[in-house]
């Protein structure tokens, strides 16, 4: 099929061609009216490749770096378009934005150019800058999102572990309050076990018994010393009494006279019986005075007072020792009783402590993982990142805006469809194309052709 035949087909089917072209013009007009961006602003985004020779010692991210080829896809994501729509105040919906953004990545380049079509220069500039900023933000979100998820999960586990630790601490606190000696056995600050404490108590008991023996002996010595000081004290007390001293001198003299008279005279000597009676009364009076003196306090005498004080101190020490010994015996008995009855409590507390140690170790492990994750996140956000290379500052009128392109494309398509339709219809039409067809229809020969 040559141009002439095509021309003839179009000429023959001019009505069909006209209808198709008319529809094409109407469609192009409607599309041009619907989308009328007239200004274009450009911004650039630079993809900074990640360096593999990082010697800083920081944790290295294992996230695959974004490639330049991925950036145009990132621009067309719904998240970016929604953010750009929000940045533009909601004047353009995401689906409308999709048609206003054009991206281009040059070969062997890490720079992506973003073109934004707007109906005003301000809108074009704002749109281009918003897209660049949101692409950078979206990339960082993607690069760090999995670390955020992991960190959030680890934090939840840490909180759960903290709750477990608090619960274990509370259980231990209750156990130690309930079983204080068991607590001492495993966790007190002094670190003394019941058996060790019992041994110490036994040692203290032995020391106290020895001390009691010593103090008892000392008390005995002081008691003897007091007894020894008693006659002297009595003598001093008697000597200090003038009535007793006078009576004893007179009794001495009368007794001496009586022994002399008895020696020199017989019992029939006059006055001897009377003298014996006097001496007897004086001795009775003397004995009565002696009793009277003995019944008075001897504390006034210095030796006896000293001995008495010393005896009292020794006795008080003995009493003190005995009291301590009694309390110590009670403590030892209680310790023995608790030593025999706290094995189950110790087992329980021991289990609680082991469980707490395990929980604390797990908590420490999670803490380490959280630190590592946060380091990875920081590394992922800083290495291989995307940054705005150039912000848009002005917008230029766009000669090849979408309406023009759409109109042109629609008209081209309409023309193509019209020609195709004309050719098809022409092929389907029964026409006098050759002399053979004429002869077949008319049943008569074709005598000639007039051109």
């Amino acid at each position: 099929m040559n141009a002439k035949s095509v021309y003839e087909a179009v000429a023959h089917q001019r009505w069909a061609v006209g209808i198709v072209l008319g529809i094409g013009i109407a469609v192009a007009f409607m599309l041009a009216v619907r989308t009328a961006p007239a200004y274009t602003a450009s911004s650039s985004v630079l993809m900074v490749p990640a360096t593999s020779n990082d010697n800083s010692g920081n944790p290295v991210s294992t996230t695959r770096p974004l490639l330049s080829d991925d950036l145009p896809l990132l621009v067309q994501t719904t998240a970016v378009l929604q953010r750009v729509s929000q940045d533009l105040g909601g004047s353009l919906q995401p689906d409308a934005l999709y048609h206003r953004i054009r991206t281009q990545v040059y070969q062997n380049s890490n720079v992506m150019t973003i073109r934004f079509f707007g109906i005003t220069p301000k809108q074009a500039v704002s749109g281009a800058n918003a897209v660049a900023d949101e692409v950078v933000g979206q990339y960082r979100t993607i690069a760090t999102s999995r670390y955020d998820t992991l960190a959030a999960d680890i934090k939840r586990q840490l909180e759960r572990r903290q709750g477990d630790l608090r619960q274990l601490d509370a259980d231990l606190q209750r156990a130690t309050v309930t079983y204080p000696y068991a607590q001492d056995a495993y966790g007190s600050a002094e670190g003394v076990s019941v058996s060790t404490r019992l041994g110490q108590l036994q040692g203290e008991h032995d020391e106290l018994v020895a001390k009691l023996s010593g103090d008892t002996a000392q008390a005995s010595v002081t008691s003897n010393r007091k007894s020894e000081a008693l006659p002297l004290a009595r003598a001093q007390a008697a000597n200090g009494d003038p009535v007793y001293r006078n009576l004893r001198e007179r009794y001495g003299r009368d007794a001496a006279d009586l022994r002399r008279d008895q020696t020199e005279f017989s019992s029939n000597y006059p006055g001897l019986a009377e003298l014996q009676d006097i001496v007897g009364r004086e001795r009775a009076g003397l004995e009565a005075d002696e009793r009277n003196v003995a019944g008075r306090s001897f504390t006034a005498t210095q030796p006896y007072a000293d001995a008495l004080a010393e005896e009292n101190r020794a006795l008080s020490l003995v009493a003190n020792d005995r009291a301590k010994l009694a309390r110590l015996d009670q403590t030892i008995a209680l310790a023995k009783e608790q030593l025999s009855g706290s094995s189950s409590a110790r087992t329980m507390i021991s289990a609680l402590r082991r469980e707490r140690q395990s929980a604390e170790a797990a908590y420490q492990l999670l803490s380490t993982r959280l630190i590592t994750t946060l380091a990875d996140r920081a590394a992922a956000a800083s290495t291989g990142s995307v940054m705005v290379f150039d912000h848009a500052t002005y917008a230029a009128p766009s000669p090849y805006t979408r309406p023009v392109l759409v109109t042109t494309a629609v008209m081209i398509v309409a023309a193509w469809m019209a020609i195709t339709l004309a050719i098809v219809l022409e092929g389907l039409a029964r026409r006098f194309r050759t002399a053979v067809i004429i002869e077949r229809v008319y049943g008569a020969p074709v005598l000639g052709v007039v051109r």
């Binding site: 026409r431 004429i438 008319y442 008569a444 020969p445 074709v446």
Partner: protein, 176 residues
């Protein structure tokens, strides 16, 4: 070839099945060819006989200015027969340009009087029922279909073709 098959004087009807197939153009060409061959040739146009809508647009006034043409509108079959007989007495070839056969019965009537019928068919035109009707009606009236001449679109343009038509005696001279 056609010249050899025709008696002298001969009456040829040039018609078509559809409008704009170019019978006048074909007739002019034939007249020119016959004239150049030394035949006295005259053309009569029957387009105005039909009157009304299908009348004259196919045959412009230029035809009347050509000396060998007659712009003729017969009032009846007898008159038409008389005119044709008169023209046969003075001319070797009488070419009657008739309107499309299915549209005007005058074409069939003149075809019965003629020695043969030539049909013009415009190349590229759609085949219609008029084509079959034309053949059928010509056969029914006993007309002799000599053949068909294929006309290109440009050739069917009457005005251009008539402008190239040359030299023929005026109507009165032809009739006399």
């Amino acid at each position: 070839m056609l010249d050899a098959r025709l008696p002298a004087p001969a009456v040829l009807v040039v018609s078509a099945a559809c409008d704009r197939d170019g019978p006048p153009t074909l007739a002019c060409g034939l007249a020119r060819a016959f004239a150049e061959a030394g035949r006295r040739t005259v053309i009569i146009s029957l387009y105005d006989l039909a009157g009304g809508e299908s009348s004259s647009p196919a045959v412009p006034d230029e035809l009347a200015t050509w000396g060998g043409a007659v712009h003729y509108a017969p009032r009846g079959l007898r008159e038409m027969s008389d005119v044709v007989s008169d023209l046969q007495s003075t001319h070797d070839v009488v070419l009657a340009v008739a309107p499309p056969v299915p549209k005007d019965p005058i074409s069939l009537q003149i075809s019965r009087l003629a020695h043969g019928v030539l049909l013009a068919v415009r190349l590229g035109r759609k085949i219609t029922t008029d084509d079959e009707t034309t053949v059928t009606q010509l056969q029914r009236v006993g007309a002799t279909l000599l053949g068909v001449v294929a006309m290109h679109h440009e050739a069917a343009d009457l005005k251009r073709r008539y402008n190239v038509a040359v030299g023929a005696p005026p109507l009165e001279a032809a009739l006399n």
